[in-house]
Symmetry: C2
């Protein structure tokens, strides 16, 4: 009864997120209730600040991956909802700490929590949400899921430190950049997908497939995100184009434009990203250099390539709406690029 | 064969920490090895920063409580070492984040990590250590211990947020202050002690006793700490007398001096702690007011009272060197007051 979907159709960015949204919509209501419930504290500031982020219209991509992977692997039960909510809390905690570390003023088109409540509260509420995430996971009681997601927590932090160390350093290679992306972003995508299958107690080959899918999807997602920072539309993006530039982040578009550039251009990158000396017009010049060297299309091309790996990783699963929805998400993530 | 120890002797602050140190010295070597091992990362900054704190000569009181409780309850195995190391990592993560939140320049008499590596790295390495703590706990594989310590993690963060909300607020009552102390300090002492008994799979009454011991010891410890901030000796304390004053923390000595003070005195507290307007001589005046109203001795007296509760909680255990060592620690914590 499997519906045959042509590669063209599956790649149609128009479908994108919708099949996944349809697949998990009932469970997402459960997650939203649980999130409201677990962001509660007698300490007023905690729900206030937590809701600022929770209600800010993130797509909840990561918990949806957990739900979809649980459905894909035939999990019976409702623990996948708690695991998915924990994944979202881990992500939210990371965002809070990231904004402090990056000194970001905006997040998803709204003032960042640190701009409203300060860095101090953002650090501590992030810690609280991480603690709540582990509490929820302990409630679920699967040591395997706890292992997967405690690994993710440590690796994400490692990735953020790596990123901090690489900041302003134009000697960063593409491989070093990929190691950062793997840790800071792909690790949670990987953990989100794998934990769904782990709940269903699936054999190692299926868990490996979910890991491969999550990791490569996560890398593709981050590459597109980094490309959008030099090519996107601030309004839809919810963050200002040029944030990475101003923060001195050495992302792939910069790595490529720097390496492909001439001496004058490299001096420009050293002055701006390297030394943080940014004047009017520099962002526009950066965008022009990145465009001149096709660094956005090269970044997007690499993202598509990781997307293909993610897609192929899913092939061992039998066809069905779960598998197709998870594959369509890849097209959605990549179609964010304009 | 139990040695009878008179109450006088047990209260002798001279013994203090030594019986506990003797009890756990072999295990502490294991912990130190494990800590070195788990603070390792390919990301150079992580071990560098982590070691700054780990090697800074903290007493490792909390992990010692886990070891002692495991021995007290007859635990056979070596998982208590990993649990204790995880407790120390949780504590270290808290210190890193605390210093960022409090903007502290010193910790244990050395420059704080954030002064050397910056706030950003301190936040992220704290996250990493917390992630590593949970990884270690997952390795141990006791869901009960995971529950105890994930609760502690969330509650500690809640307590820190409460403290942030109460900062500069002289309307804070003694009860509100105690709720903060319970959460930010006593929760980890409680978790450290209980998890030792939980490893040994002891019945509920013994775990309750360990919780009661840990919690009340933690409160006593924090009360003395808060008293020392207005009465201690910076050199031995490793922090400057007056840190809490400068940070606008409303601790018990201040709560008592404020409530017992006259209108002029309350205006002084409002200007300094409340409004953060601190001039030369204000710290000395604060110390004088606290002394005038016997707020240090009242704080120490309350600490002793919590210490008595902790001591009594241990009475259900049969006499032996483990029990005596754990009771002697109470005297040690209280004897830190001069």
């Amino acid at each position: 009864m499997g519906v045959v979907v042509s590669l063209e159709e599956a790649r149609d960015p128009g479908k994108g997120l919708q099949p996944l949204l349809d697949l998990v919509s009932a469970d997402m209501q459960g997650i939203n209730r649980l999130i409201l419930d677990k962001a509660v504290s007698d300490v007023e500031l905690i729900p206030e600040l937590a809701h600022h982020l929770i209600d800010s219209g993130g797509k909840r991509l990561r918990p949806m991956l957990t739900l979809a992977a649980a459905k894909l692997t035939g999990f019976q039960g409702d623990e996948h909802i708690r695991v998915a909510a924990a994944v979202e809390f881990m992500h939210t905690a990371t965002l809070l700490h990231d904004d402090v570390v990056d000194e970001s003023d905006f997040r998803r088109g709204r003032k960042s929590a640190r701009m409203i409540w300060g860095n101090q509260a953002s650090v501590l509420v992030g810690d609280f949400l991480l603690g709540q995430a582990f509490r929820m996971l302990v409630d679920v009681g699967s040591l395997q899921v706890l292992r997967i997601l405690s690994n993710a927590a440590a690796v994400i932090a490692e990735g953020e430190v790596m990123q901090l160390s690489a900041a302003k350093n134009l000697a960063t290679t593409e491989d070093e950049y990929l190691a950062i992306v793997n840790a800071k972003t792909a690790a949670l995508f990987l953990g989100a997908a794998e934990s769904g299958g782990a709940l269903a107690k699936r054999p190692a080959d299926e868990l490996s497939a979910l890991r491969c899918y999550g990791k490569n999807l996560g890398i593709a997602f981050q590459l597109i995100d980094d490309a959008l920072d030099y090519s996107g539309d601030s309004k839809n993006l919810g963050k200002a184009v040029g944030d990475d530039f101003r923060e001195g982040k050495v992302t792939l578009p910069v790595i490529l434009a720097f390496r492909r550039g001439n001496e004058d251009e490299r001096a420009f990158w050293q002055r701006t990203i390297g030394a943080g000396e940014i004047n009017d017009g520099d962002l526009e010049h950066a965008v022009a250099l990145i465009s001149k060297h096709n660094a956005i299309s090269a970044t997007n091309e690499r993202a598509r390539s990781y997307g293909t790996v993610a897609r192929d990783a899913m092939e061992i699963f039998k066809d069905g709406k779960e598998k197709r929805a998870m594959q369509d998400v890849i097209a959605f993530c990549i179609s964010r690029a304009h």
